[in-house]
Each structure stands twice: as structure tokens, then as C-alpha cells.
Amino acid sequence: MILIDAGERSDHAFDAKLLMAMQLGERGHRVAIDATTRPADLDRSHRYQAAPFLADPADLAMSRVLVIGAEALSPETLQGLAGYRLGADVPVTLTGRFADRQAAIGARTKAAYVLGREPQVIDLADLQKSPLLPASPLPALACAHPATKRTRPEVFLCLPAESLEDPATLAAIGALDYLPEFGLTLVLAGKGRELLRMTRHAHLRAFGASELPPATLAAMADAAAFLGEDVGGERMAAFAADLMQAGGAVIDATAGAALAATGAPALRGPQDLAALGNFLVHTVLPNRHEIGRQTQASPWLKSHSIKRFEEALDLQAPSGRTAAASSQRVLFVPTNGVGLGHAQRCLQVAQEMADPAACAFAAFPSCLPMIEAQGLACLPLVSKSPSHHEEYANDLVNYLRLRRHAARGSTLVFDGGYVFDSIYRTILERALNGVWIRRGLWQPGQIHGAALEREKVFRQVIIPDEAFDELNADYTYGRHISHVGPILRRDADGPGEATEAGALTREDLAERFGLACRELLVTMLGAGVAADRTAQMQLLCSIAERRAGCLHLIVVWPGASVPPAVYGWKNSRVVRTRRTLALCRAADLAVSAAGYNAFHEILYHQVPAIFVPQTASFMDDQERRARAASGRGLAETVMAHELLQMEREVRAFLDDGKAARIREALATSALPQPGNAAAARLIERSMTDGR
């Protein structure tokens, strides 16, 4: 393990360490950063990027210590070096751009005092005669990265935030975005992204300059133009060098020729955005392969490459990196809430995949038994908890797990409403084929740019439609959006479902619960997370209590919380099971929330039902969904507060023939074909298509 330290303890020095760690990590080296050197006020983006590298040095078997920026060795860094109690066989290397011979001797001497032996000193001025950033502590820049296949070139535009204050800038960028010859992505320094969100150009694909590792940005780009006064800091310089190394075209459109003046293989481009489009379309893109070839052959690039730096350190790059990159798997990641509904939907799709054995899951522990029962491997993720010291602590852990688990270039299928940082970053950093299964019917307040901004990282978005057309709406547009029929558990076709659906009879249930079962009422009102349904459950228990031979089953997912009061009724029983469909199919009446899965299963399996929509602000628009069915006479909708109406409707269903009428209506209604198989085909197609 290589421990990376920096001469100074500052935010800037920490970021330089992080960049160095990323670069060496990309080369396959095992690297770490002393967690105690992390700045206390590190922002969220940096926390995610730093997480894979932070470690307690006491836990590490260190093979080397690398101190960058050693031209300024702070007492804290020296004290840290002394505190590591390094073995005599652990080499310590100092790198820096030393102003003169005394500066190099001084650094060596200070380190020697605390180490008790001599460190290796590398003066970067000897390696890199004309760096992009002469004052940077970062030793190496260009880190080789496998090029990603793309059907259309991607052009990145790197801009300082202040340039967006000129209205003409965004107008020109907006025009560039409409050019069909390339895809456009902005990389914005400082508050650029926040500024962009406040404009009518918020739809433009954009990343913050420090949001992602430079190598990740480089892997997404074929060409990048740098505008503004200078390169824009270490991350942008690293991005430029990484792109050069990957054979991309780097266009220096800075005012002072900040890149080209160093001898770096950058094309001098127009500083005027209005001219950039033509320059790209007619000069750069038609010649980009030759530009890339010449760029990669540049002596400047060789002297600024991580490989050259490794040689100076006498560091062997580990092998085996490419082997991991070639493995192809499909990782389903159903999250949000407890994740059971999402996991169930993903399972239906996985079962339709041509090679289900190539599928694996990463899901919350609540979903593990259900997934593993289908014979699929599942990486447990950590659920959010109020006990965590910060709101995204669980997601940081999930990020580390996903990052470790997902092979570069493989496929990640996410099912959920909110794209967590862990998902977003893993897809980008591992160059994954991202697929988003995103059911619709969001509440109006949920449909906004911020929620959908991360759609940009998915190659394919699959929208499982609602059964009724008026409920289907597009929030975003593009060739990457595909609609499929409702995804749901299908009768007797899926593994395990035949037994589930077919085996449950009234006799089975009577024997199982020790009660007569001439009439079966099934209640599925949720796990209590979205809303407290105690009153409604109590009402249904009391109704069942008054009906001789009525068995009332309160069905919840395993692990759900149930109000203790419902355990006191004679005709009611709490059932913790995933076999909800089989119970519904056996029921005379189901009283259910109108979540996507339950709703469609009830309709497609012709179960007479009263829907009690969840109305929490973070849920989908269940009332619209429920009323779409009840308006067609295919179910009834009763709002949670309408308790008297509930009693009347239960009587109508069970005593007045309404259940039979609805069952008959469902049998004759034309519902769209389920989309399980279509979703699987779309995933498979995305695995072979370029972006």
C-alpha cells in the first residue's frame, strides 16, 4: 500500500493528494491517504472521491510513502511522517518543484531528521520541464485510460463560472448544443453549475470541475475545449492531460494559450464561442483520430505521464487491470425506501434476461431473502438510518461497495426514483452501461430538473408504463428513453410464482390459521413508513370481526412494523410474507395501497380491490392511479380518511355483488401487454450499443 501525503496540510494539498491517489489507483496501485489529514469541512463531492482512499495508517501494511509538494514541508506533515513509525524497508519519496538546490536539500534534511534515514527526493523540474501548472504540487498528470466506444463524438467545454454571467455565452453554448455532429457537455468551475441551473439552459449536460475524477471526465470525452484566462486549476489540467493520453483532441481556447504555450499537444482554437462550432465540425472532428495519434506520440505527454513518474519512483505498475475491465455482468440495484417494490420489479426483468446467471443484485438487506430465493447473488447495501452521523453516510458505504463490485464496462440497472450519489458516481467512474428503470406518475412537485439531472449518466432509461394511458407522461425526451408495458409478477410464468399463485386455497388458509375461511379479506396498506394506517386496519378488523367465517389477513412485507392493536381481533391475522400475489388471488376482496406493483398485480390478476392511496409527498401519485381504475369500474378508491365510506364499500363488495362485477369487468378489460421481457431486451441491447 502506497501512502500519499503532501507537504502542506491544506484543502488544496489534500485535493492534490486525492488526484495523485486517483492517478496511481487508475494504474492499479493500492494507495491510501491518512484519514486524519482530511479537511474537516470537505464538501460532499470530495468526500465521495476521497472515501476509497482514506485509511488509518496504523491499519496499513505500507510499501512506500510518497510525499508530494515537498517544497513546502509543514511541521504537521513532518510530525505525521515521524508518527507512522515506518519500517526501515519502507521507502519514502519526496517530490516537489524545488526553487533551488538548497530547497531540495532542505526538504531532504527535514524529512531525514524525522525519519531517521534518508528519503528519495525527486525534483519534478527534472522530469517535467514545462508543466501545465508550474506551481502545482501534483507530480504527474496524464493517466492512460481505455477509450470508450461511442457512435457520436462527445465534446466537453471547460468554462470558468464567471463566463456564464455574459448572456451571450449561454446563447452560443445553446446553439452548439443543437449541432448534430457531436454531443456537448459543459465542465464548469466554481459556482458554474448553480448558475446554469438558474437559467433557461439548465437542461444542458454539465459537470462541476471538481465533481468527478479527471480520468472519469476524460473517459467520457473525445475532445475538450478550454476557455477562459487559464487552464482552470489542477483538475482541469489533469483532465486535459488524461484526454491527451486517451487520444482525445484538446483545444486550447484560453486567452493566454495556457496549454499550447507549455508545449503540450493542444490545438490552438478560437476564443470566440461563435466560431468554435465550425472549428469543431470542420477541423477537429473530421481529423480527430489523426489528432489523437499525434497527441499520443508527443514527447511532452510522455514526460508528463504517470508512467514516466512510475519509472522515476522505480514503481512497477501491477498487472491484471485489463482482465477486470473485460468481464461483463448485469448488476441490478433497486433502491429507495425499503426497496422491496423496486427489487421485485427488477427480479421480473432479470428473470427475462437471456442469461439470468449473468445477473446479480445489490440491494438493501430487506430485499436479500426475496432475491436470494430466486437463486441470484445479492450484495447487501446499507439503508439510511437516523443513527448515522451524517445524512449520506450509508450511501458513502454503498458507493464503496458498488465501486468495488462493479467491473469496468459492465451494466448497472438502477430501479428507483432518486439517483443516489453512489449510483451516479459508480456508473461514471467505472464507465458502466447505466440503465434506469424509472416508473412514472410522479407527483407534480417531484418533477423538476434537479431530480432528473442525473439521467445524463444513463445510456438507457426504461419507463414501465402505467396500465392506463392518461397516467403515462414523459418528463424527459430523447432516443435513450423507452417505454415498456407494466412490469409485474405474471401468473404462473415466473419461477416460484406458479406454486405461489396456484397452491393457496381457502382450506389451506383455514388450516394454517385455525379459523374458518368462507370469506377472505386481504389488507395491504403498507409498512407504516409512508403513513400510519392503524385506524384503517382497525376498521377492517372490526368489520371482519362482525362477519362469521371471514378471515382477515393483514399482509405486510417481512420486517414491516404493524400496530400492536390489530393482534387482538379474533378474525384477523398478521401475515409477514412476500407471497402477496397468491393471497390476493385467493381473496374475495383486497384493500390495498395503490403502489405500482400492487396496483398492477391486482388489475392483471383480476382481484376485486378497494385502493387506499398513499399520499405522502415522496410517493408516486397513487390517488391518480387508483382513480384511473375506479373511474373505469375496475376497482374502488377510498381515501384514508373516508372510514365510513370504507365500511360501505366493503359491504358492497362482499354483500352486494360488487366484487363479482369488478372481477368480471377486469376479465374483459384490455390491459397493455406486460413489459417484463421488453425491458430485458432493452437492457441487452444497451449492452451492445455505443452511446
Binding site: L78, Q79, A82, G83, R85, D100, R101, Q102, I105, G106, R108, T109, K110, A112, Y113, V114, L115, G116, R117, E118
Partner: protein, 351 residues
């Protein structure tokens, strides 16, 4: 015999610690021979610092004023103290015209392992360019310091303009002598500036200052205090956190090892301890400056050396008295003799 030539000292008077004490003692000693003009340089190394108090006191005693930043220093003999003060600049800021330039090398040119301690060539080069003199000498302050100069010259040929004085330009050690304790105990101490170079690895410190000692007093332990080091059996004091008399009253032995990558060029703190009646235990290179006055041991041997002397108070006393006698070789009178031998011809005194 009274010198007929003029003597000028060139020094950055803000030099901290032992070097300023050494220069102050020299000025006081030389007052009996001839007047000395003291030129003050403002080097980048000590930017923002005040004149060292011990030097200021000596100048006041002698009624001398510092001559600040003279563009040219001209004298029959010019003594330049510590060329390392020039390491952060490219020009000394003064021109020197003299019959003999003596550069006193208070800092070792090489560290253990032969790594260069500072940019020696850069500093000597500055003096070369700034000086018009038929004779330029490097004056080592101790045998170890001398060896470093010779080794450096070996490795850096082409410095033919420089000679090395045949005798050491030692620090004057005129400290008042104290009698040794008649009943020494295993009370150990060390004092130094708090720099990292002054301290050996912690494992060595643990060997030298063990829990079974009756006292372990560490003066100048700023870095340990800052790091919150957990050694309940150590009494840690920051630099100047104790008056030296107070400190010496708390210990019967001075155990002094430094970072393996650094050596004292002279070791004034050890002279202070010997004068205070305390046996000094240190490594062979460091002890060499005192010609047998310091006891040589490895860290592993410290316990045995101390046990032997604690068990035999007479031996303890004899050792201290002998060590103090050897320290007399570093007296003011001895320095004056050595000075005249080295610099006499330049100032009209026959050697």
C-alpha cells in the same frame, strides 16, 4: 604582542542559540587583544528576528555598536561566522576586502551518511564572488566538523581557493563550574532546542529515558508536548521552560543523542552540562569535540553506564572533575592563543 592590523567580524547577529553564544564569547575574549569591528548582515534566514540576547549583552559590555549592512567590509582580518546563513539567498549583500578571510563553519557540511547538510557550494560561491582576498580559510569548530569539511572538499573538487585551518576554531566554554553530586542518583535529563534534528527516534528516547529511572527531564520537548506524547515517566518542558540552573538541579546525568541524520558540530549543551558537574553520555562522533570529557555509549548501553556511576559515587566525581579539566582546553585564553596562531600573520602578529 599587540596586533597592528584591523579585525572585522561579519555575522548575522540574529543567529539563535549556541552560535550567537560562541560569537559573543569570542568577542569578549578578543577584547583583550585588539578592537573588533562587528558588521551585521541581514540574511533571509533570520528575517524578522531580533538580535540574539547573548550577543547584544556582549556588545553592550564591550561598548560596541553593530555596523548594519555595510556595502563593503574592509579589514586585515575578516572573520565570517557560519556560511550556512547564506543558504536562502544568492548574494551575501556585502563585499569583503581583506588579507585573510576566515569562515567559521558552525554547521557541519555533511550529515551522517554523507548527505549534504545545506547548499555548501552555493554559500561558499557567494563568499567567493564577494571577497577580494589572497587567503581564504575554512575554520572547523570540532574534529567531527573538520572531517565533514574534508569529506565535502573531497567530493567537491575545484575549491582550490579555500584552505582549512590546522586547528579547530572551538567554542569558548567559560561556564562557571559546579561540583559534582556526592550521591548521584539515576536522574537523567537532556536539554536542547526543540528542532527535530536534536531528537533521536522515539525508540532510542525510550531506551535512554526508561520508566525505572528516578527522573527523566526533557527540556526543549515542544514537539512531544504538541503531539500529546504519552510517557508518564517523562517530565517534559518546552524550550526555555526551565531556567538552566533549575534544570541541572533536577538531573545527575545528561543523556544526549540526536537524530541519526544529524550531528552536533560542536555541542555547546554538553559543555554546559559538564561545567554544571554532570556526566554527559553520547555517541562517539558527538563526544569527539570534547576529547574524552563525554562518555561514549550506545543507547542500549546507557543504563549500564549510569548504573555503574550511581553505584560508585567516587568514580562519578572523578569523571566529572576530569571532564571539567578537559573543558579548560576550551577557555578564553586557549581561544586567544588559537586565534593568534591562525590569524596572527594577517594582523601583524607573528605566530
Amino acid at each position: 604582542m599587540t596586533p597592528t592590523g584591523s579585525i572585522a567580524y561579519v555575522v548575522d547577529p540574529r543567529l539563535p542559540g549556541g552560535t550567537s553564544s560562541a560569537v559573543a564569547a569570542e568577542l569578549l575574549a578578543l577584547a583583550e587583544i585588539a578592537p573588533v569591528r562587528v558588521h551585521a548582515l541581514e540574511t533571509r534566514m533570520f528575517r524578522g528576528r531580533a538580535v540574539a540576547p547573548q550577543l547584544a549583552a556582549a556588545l553592550e559590555t564591550l561598548g560596541l555598536d553593530l555596523v548594519w549592512n555595510a556595502p563593503t567590509v574592509s579589514a586585515d582580518l575578516v572573520v565570517f561566522h557560519n556560511p550556512a546563513v547564506l543558504k536562502f539567498q544568492r548574494d551575501p549583500g556585502v563585499r569583503i576586502v581583506t588579507r585573510h578571510l576566515i569562515v567559521v563553519t558552525h554547521e557541519n557540511f555533511l550529515r551522517p551518511g554523507a548527505a549534504e547538510a545545506f547548499d555548501v557550494a552555493g554559500c561558499l560561491g557567494q563568499l567567493d564572488r564577494a571577497t577580494l582576498s589572497p587567503l581564504k580559510s575554512l575554520a572547523p569548530v570540532s574534529p567531527h566538523n573538520r572531517q565533514c569539511i574534508l569529506d565535502w572538499l573531497d567530493r567537491n573538487p575545484g575549491r582550490d581557493g579555500w584552505s582549512v585551518l590546522g586547528q579547530d576554531w572551538f567554542n569558548i566554554c567559560d561556564h562557571p563550574r559546579s561540583v559534582p553530586s556526592p550521591a548521584p542518583a539515576d536522574r537523567r535529563g537532556r536539554h536542547s532546542r526543540p528542532g527535530a534534528e536534536k531528537f533521536p527516534p522515539l525508540a532510542v528516547m525510550d531506551l535512554c529515558f526508561p520508566a525505572h529511572a528516578q527522573a527523566n527531564v526533557i527540556l526543549g520537548a515542544d514537539s512531544y508536548v504538541a503531539a500529546g506524547l504519552d510517557r508518564p515517566h517523562w517530565s517534559l518542558y518546552p524550550f526555555r521552560g526551565l531556567d538552566l540552573d533549575e534544570y541541572f538541579a533536577m538531573v545527575d546525568f545528561m543523556v544526549y543523542f540526536t537524530a541519526p541524520g544529524w550531528r552536533e558540530s560542536f555541542g555547546r549543551v554538553m559543555a554546559e552540562a559538564i561545567a554544571a558537574g554532570k556526566p554527559v553520555i553520547t555517541d562517539a562522533d558527538t563526544a569527539a569535540a570534547f576529547d574524552g570529557a563525554a562518555l561514549v555509549a550506545s543507547p542500549e548501553e546507557v543504563d549500564a553506564v549510569i548504573a555503574r556511576l550511581v553505584g560508585r559515587p567516587r568514580l562519578y566525581r572523578d569523571h566529572v572533575i576530569a571532564a571539567q579539566a578537559r573543558l579548560d582546553r576550551h577557555s578564553s585564553a586557549a581561544f586567544r592563543e588559537a586565534f593568534l596562531r591562525a590569524a596572527g600573520p594577517a594582523i601583524g602578529v607573528a605566530p
